[in-house]
Amino acid sequence: MTTIIDSAATSDRIARRSLLGDIRSVWMRETLTILRDPFSLIFSLIQPLVFLGLFGPLLSGVAGEDGLGFGSTLQFFLPGVVVMITMFGTSMTGANLQFEIMTGAFERILATPLARPALLIGRALKELTPLVVQALIITLVAVPFGFEFFPGHIVVGLLILGVFGVGVGALSYALAIATRKNEWAFWAVQQSLLFPLLILSGMMLPLETGPEWMQVLSKFNPLTYIVDAERVLFSGTFDDRAVLFGLIAAVVTAAGGLWVGVRTVTKSIL
């Protein structure tokens, strides 16, 4: 055989790859689309401010009736917005993938030795990257309006969201592969799952005032536990069972999502 396959460089290279390195490479490739197109980044940063700017005045009206004060209403509402941005971003992971399935880039990447979970995690992390900046911006903007800022708690909150987001991203990835023959099916499924999940988590409006069937359904929605955990953390508390339940919900979602995702990748025929 030629020197190419027997060279020390080759065997060294084959041994040197690692899951973390693979995740990093995939994440870098995806993140390049943001760096090379800063326009989309600017918009993604403005989006949460729009939510806050439009919902804020309405909330202050509600707050006035309840006599809770605007600060505490924000304390309830803002973590919900952060979770919502996460859900919007990560559930669209598959949309970018579908474009690359269509053009052929996905097949080329599948033919590389990259670990399969890295393909899913790297892509989901890319959707989560702007989230860190988004969350910080809206939190800081909210501070003058009476929002109390707990940096350490927010970091933990974002980590839980990150783990959860990897699971949602992986499921979105699997959905993109399953619906690769008709693009609209991806959006149909994504949209019809996204909104019930958001509403049934009590993210926008508290479910306590809703009918009992909604409260029962919300108990089966992993997002409910994430939202509860974020609310507790954003209000500056670690010592609450909601944080633990949120972490469990995130880990279960991530493990389930990756299992489904990796299976879909290895079983799919493009």
């Binding site: 055989m1 030629t2 190419i4 396959i5 460089a9 080759t10 290279r13 084959i14 040197r16 790859r17 390195g21 693979d22 490479s25 870098m28 490739r29 390049l32 689309t33 090379r36 197109d37 474009f99 690359e100 053009t103 052929g104 880039a105 097949e107 080329r108 990447i109 599948l110 033919a111 590389t112 030795p113 990259l114 670990a115 290895t266 025929i269």
Partner: protein, 320 residues
């Protein structure tokens, strides 16, 4: 480099079971240039996908670059290059970014990936495209970029799935220049699929004809043609000379056919090594006083081989 035993793949869609590949036994030695030839749906691409570990076999086994495809798919993938039918490079990326990241995907260091990317851009005439967005490249440039992506890690074995489909003749020739040079310089083993007869005929040293998921012939293009079709000589003569001609022709040719033709007769027959046989036949006829009005020699194409093997023409089923 490649060894397979009864490699089989079936697909189940609804209640139907489709046997795409039915027991392929194949050996490819290092340095060979092999073309899988067959109509669309013959099982060429499915075979290629199993060999590149993109698709697990239903049964049978395959060892590629010394690694079992089922036991260690990632190990196979790190040792081979694969260039698919569609554009490998992401349309929203810059050429340089895609090359560097492809290097990282194969575990190259940043420096090594950059060195390789530079080398490949140079040898594939893509230097000027370095910072261009992939979607702005022409078809031929995109294809060359695909080759660069497939070679970033210097694989000893390269798979190409329908590499020149949809390319104009000039770009196809250019692509082949690059592939052949690669082979000359590095001794890369190359396996490709094609449904272009001319391509398999002129470029590949070994042609594996696949039909209905089976290998139906496996040899050099010349040997296949000689064995399966052979050269045919056709002569047009006066009807009066027919008995003499029959006599002469019968000595060298087989499968003799006769047909009336504009006041004369055309007699055609099969010979081995047509170009060498034709002058001899004409001389012998001249010596006997036969005036030959027209003489043609038809050498077979791989399509004749396929027709002879299957009773069908490859051209009918082939996409333009």
């Amino acid at each position: 480099m490649i060894h397979t035993e009864q490699l089989t793949r079936t697909f189940v869609s609804g209640k139907e079971t489709v046997e795409a590949v039915r027991g392929i036994d194949l050996d490819v030695a290092a340095g060979e240039l092999v073309a899988f030839l067959g109509p669309n749906g013959a099982g060429k691409s499915t075979t290629l996908r199993m060999l590149t570990s993109l698709l697990p076999p239903t049964s049978g086994n395959a060892t590629v670059a010394g690694i079992d495809v089922t036991a260690d798919p990632a190990g196979v993938r790190s040792r081979i290059g694969y260039i698919g039918q569609k554009d490998g490079a992401g349309h929203n990326y810059r050429v340089w970014d895609e090359l560097l990241l492809q290097g990282r995907f194969y575990g190259l260091s940043k420096d090594r990936a950059a060195t390789r990317a530079d080398e490949l851009l140079g040898s594939l005439d893509l230097e000027a495209m370095k910072l261009r967005k992939v979607s702005t490249l022409s078809g031929g440039q995109k294809r060359r970029l695909d080759i660069a992506l497939g070679l970033i890690h210097e694989p000893a074995l390269l798979f190409l799935d329908e590499p020149s489909t949809g390319m104009d003749p000039q770009n196809r020739a250019n692509l082949w220049d690059h592939i052949l040079r690669l082979r000359e310089e590095f001794g890369t083993t190359i396996v490709l699929t094609t449904h272009y007869l001319e391509e398999a005929d002129t470029m590949a040293e070994r042609v594996v004809v696949i039909d209905h998921g089976r290998i139906i012939a496996d040899d050099t293009a010349d040997a296949l043609k000689a064995e399966q079709a052979g050269d045919r000589i056709s002569l047009t003569i006066d009807a009066a000379d027919l008995p003499t001609t029959r006599d002469v022709v019968g000595r060298t040719g087989t499968e003799v056919q006769e047909a009336p033709n504009a006041g004369g007769v055309t007699i055609s027959f099969r010979v081995d090594a047509g170009p060498a046989a034709l002058p001899g036949v004409l001389h012998a006829l001249g010596d006997k006083g036969v005036a030959v009005r027209a003489a043609t020699l038809k050498q077979p194409t791989l399509d004749d081989v396929f027709l002879n093997l299957t009773g069908r023409s490859l051209r009918e089923g082939a996409e333009a």
